[in-house]
Amino acid sequence: MSSTILDPAIAAELPDVLPARKQRGKVAMFAYRHPSIFAGGLLVSLVVASAVFAPLLGTVDPTALAPAKRLRVPSEIYWFGTDMLGRDIYSRVLYGTRVSLQVGVMVALFASVIGMFIGLTSGFIRVLDTVVMRVMDGLMSIPGILLAIALMALTRGSVGNVIIAITITEIPRVARLVRGVVLSLREQPYVEAAVAAGTRVPKIIWKHILPNTLAPITVQATFICASAMITEATLSFIGAGTPPTIPSWGNIMAEGRALWQVKPFIVLFPAMFLSITVLSINLLGDGLRDALDPRMAKKI
């Protein structure tokens, strides 16, 4: 067992993701040591800021129709142009950031928590293991996007339902990861010792298992966040995602799709934002993995 994994300093290292402003020297040092975390973190914070401060960044109502001003090319007035209903694409893209981030973060959070719960259950209660893992196998054997579309067909489109649908497709990944960690840790002498000493299961989980799953789950959650954003955009693009009344990147692209040849900017701007956001989250995830778990970095 590598000492880094058990190092309690891991938990303390996480907040460093947001660069500390006080000490310049340290920032430069951090950026040098973890370029991926630094670049990814910086870009992610920019995206988060543009979502939070969207109303202050020169936007107008992203849903205001103006058929008379439709399909304007990017200009000083319409920075990213207007779409076929005359809506301002810049405003829509910026407000769309909110939807994407919301979906990404919520899915990552829910999938991690639920997946961790399932993984722990499966790892500790061996009677349930076979059944739970077969269900997870079943879920994993349905291509995620198909499963999400099918789930979306169940319900009326809403951001909440999109989050639920994508979460369900992502849970098995976390559950398997956690179960794997639990199974390997159970073999460890100190855990065996704890069990032999009569320590109750919740305490074992709290003291030994959780600290060791936190690092891989954090890394996994970052990737889930990125992939959830792509799935949301793809769902909306196919027409089975976020309701079209809400500006999301996938919706803007879906609407611009018909005019891709003549007005490529309608698709390009949200595509650019989506790609950069996902890229920066993936960079962040890569960096975190390298920093938190060098062994895992080698494996994948």
Binding site: R134, V135, D137, G138, L139, M140, S141, I142, P143, G144, I145, L146, I149, A150, L151, A153, L154, T155, R156, A226, I230, A233, T234, F237, I238, G239, A240, M253, W260, Q261, P264, V267, A271, L274, S275, V278, L279, N282, L283, D286, A297, K298, K299, I300
Partner: protein, 314 residues
């Protein structure tokens, strides 16, 4: 070994059964009425009711599930609500394009990604390595439909090198039209897999290169290239095969989108159309078939391990 295969095959049955129950109940509870869609925009509610009854959609869940399962076990996937054609026939029509797209994508991805990964590992720590890894992260982050449209715009519309859409069935005497139609879709779909496989190859190569026997080989004076390709690559085969197994679901998911962008008549487009129309038998049939394929592919992957890595024994 044989007993192992039998055990694995039997183990797939509960998985497929769970998928069947899951997908059937999912669609049972789904809103959206196929009868209303069939009757059309201008039909009266009485018409809709009669169509619903004639399709048997008004019967209880359990009856319909067992009837359906019994048929499936007998190899009958049912009849499409809209077209009245057997689902198995509709799927069969669509398999060739999807299979072509996936195989070509994998061929393309492996043949680009493995050299890239080897290169990155060989030049580990240099700007080449970083460039390859940046490239990998980038392609992992761009949605497949965006890549698809960019490729179509550049290589089909502007340069006119390839057709924009469609599919030509494969023929041995003249495979060129088949290939021409698939180049852009395979490239679009392959991007993410190039990224994935390149990263795996690089990581595995790095690990293998630091092993003792490689160092021994180097010390004995074997030159760089034979080391890389003979020893290292052989060991890299295992993780690459694994990623194909894991990535298969992603490959299908990507194919769904790619087929719709390039108007390829594959299984993916069939099921998306069916979902949007609520053609239950098709959705059930395709999802069941795809997850069964997924399970089989992963079974094959496990068996391939023994081939590539004699150390693994069952």
């Amino acid at each position: 070994m044989f007993a192992y295969i039998i055990r694995r095959v039997i183990a797939t049955i509960p998985v497929v059964a769970i998928v069947a129950l899951f997908i059937f109940s999912l669609l049972y509870f789904a809103p959206g009425d196929p009868a209303a869609i069939i009757a059309g925009d201008q039909a009266t509610p009485a018409d809709v009711e009669r169509i619903r009854a004639s399709l048997g959609l008004d019967r209880p869940f359990v009856v319909r599930f067992f009837e359906w399962s019994w048929q499936v076990v007998q190899g009958n996937l049912g009849v499409s609500i809209f077209t009245n054609l057997p689902v198995s026939k509709m799927i069969a029509q669509r398999i060739e394009p999807s299979l072509s797209l996936m195989l070509l994508t994998l061929t393309f991805a492996i043949s680009v990604a493995v050299p890239l990964g080897v290169l990155a590992a060989w030049k580990h720590g240099t700007w080449i390595d970083r460039l390859v890894m940046m490239f990998a992260v980038f392609f992992f982050s761009v949605p497949v439909f965006v890549v698809g449209y960019l490729l179509a715009y550049t290589f089909a519309l502007q340069l006119d090198w390839f057709p924009v859409q469609g599919y030509t069935p494969f023929s041995i005497s003249d495979p060129w039209p088949w290939l021409r139609n698939l180049v852009l879709p395979a490239a679009a779909l392959g991007g993410a897999f190039v990224a994935l496989i390149a990263r795996i190859t690089r990581a595995t190569m790095l690990e293998v290169l630091s092993q003792d026997y490689i160092r021994t080989a180097r010390a004995k004076g074997v030159s760089q290239r034979p080391i890389l390709f003979m020893h290292a690559l052989k060991n890299a085969a295992v993780p690459i095969v694994t990623i194909i197994g894991i990535g298969f679901a992603g490959l299908i998911g990507g194919a769904v989108v790619t087929e719709s962008v390039f108007a390829i008549p594959g299984v993916g487009r069939l099921v998306v159309d069916a979902i949007l129309r609520r053609d239950y038998p098709i959705i059930q049939g395709v999802v069941l078939m795809l997850s069964f394929t997924y399970v089989l592919v992963n079974l094959c992957v496990d068996l391939l391990y023994t081939l590539f890595d004699p150390r693994i024994r069952y």
